[in-house]
Amino acid sequence: LAKTTQPISMDSYEGQEVNITCSHNNIATNDYITWYQQFPSQGPRFIIQGYKTKVTNEVASLFIPADRKSSTLSLPRVSLSDTAVYYCLVAPSSNTGKLIFGQGTTLQVKP
């Protein structure tokens, strides 16, 4: 079971690019890496998922190096509304495997 480690908190300013890195040293060959965003009093929301190299969607980019032992969520030009908790999740290939979240990174965007 891949355990994930993320920074507890990060600060940024509006308009900056924010990169949040997640470490998952014992990721298995068929595991996928997924990121979630959570606002206060809401459930987490899926942002992006990847297996290797780079994935981009309208919200974020996800960079995964060749060894896949870490991944970086990149948020371009953040705004105040991006203030949230961001979770990294490694999804095991087995359908009966546990989906264990890490502690998440609280991102505070300042004006």
């Binding site: 459930g43 987490p44 929301r45 290939s93 979240f101």
Partner: protein
């Protein structure tokens, strides 16, 4: 859009009461999950189910049980609520174990 609905947003119960938290999803997902969330501890998995009548323990199953009699419904049961079960409870579902979970809005339980 996938909708995961949790029966109550806020509940207040007394120590020793039996508590039912209901979760319903409308996308025919195989997998359903119950997490609890506490400040500083992130999301912790209580139980999950990958099929009707199937259940697997998560990291913190003690004091909880679950029921999945129908594919769309996953219930979390606290047989005898205790104050240390005061928390936010989040239900989620997914198509198999893709890692793309859809969460409900959460149920905030207070046990007095």
């Amino acid at each position: 859009d996938v909708k995961v609905t949790q029966s109550s947003r806020y509940l207040v119960k007394r120590t020793g009461e039996k508590v039912f938290l209901e979760c319903v999803q409308d996308m025919d997902h195989e997998n359903m999950f119950w997490y609890r969330q506490d400040p500083g501890l992130g999301l912790r998995l209580i139980y999950f189910s990958y099929d009707v009548k199937m259940k697997e323990k998560g990291d913190i199953p003690e004091g909880y049980s679950v029921s999945r009699e129908k594919k769309e419904r996953f219930s979390l049961i606290l047989e005898s609520a205790s104050t240390n079960q005061t928390s936010m409870y989040l239900c989620a579902s997914s198509y198999r174990n893709t890692g793309e979970l859809f969460f409900g809005e959460g149920s905030r339980l207070t046990v007095l």
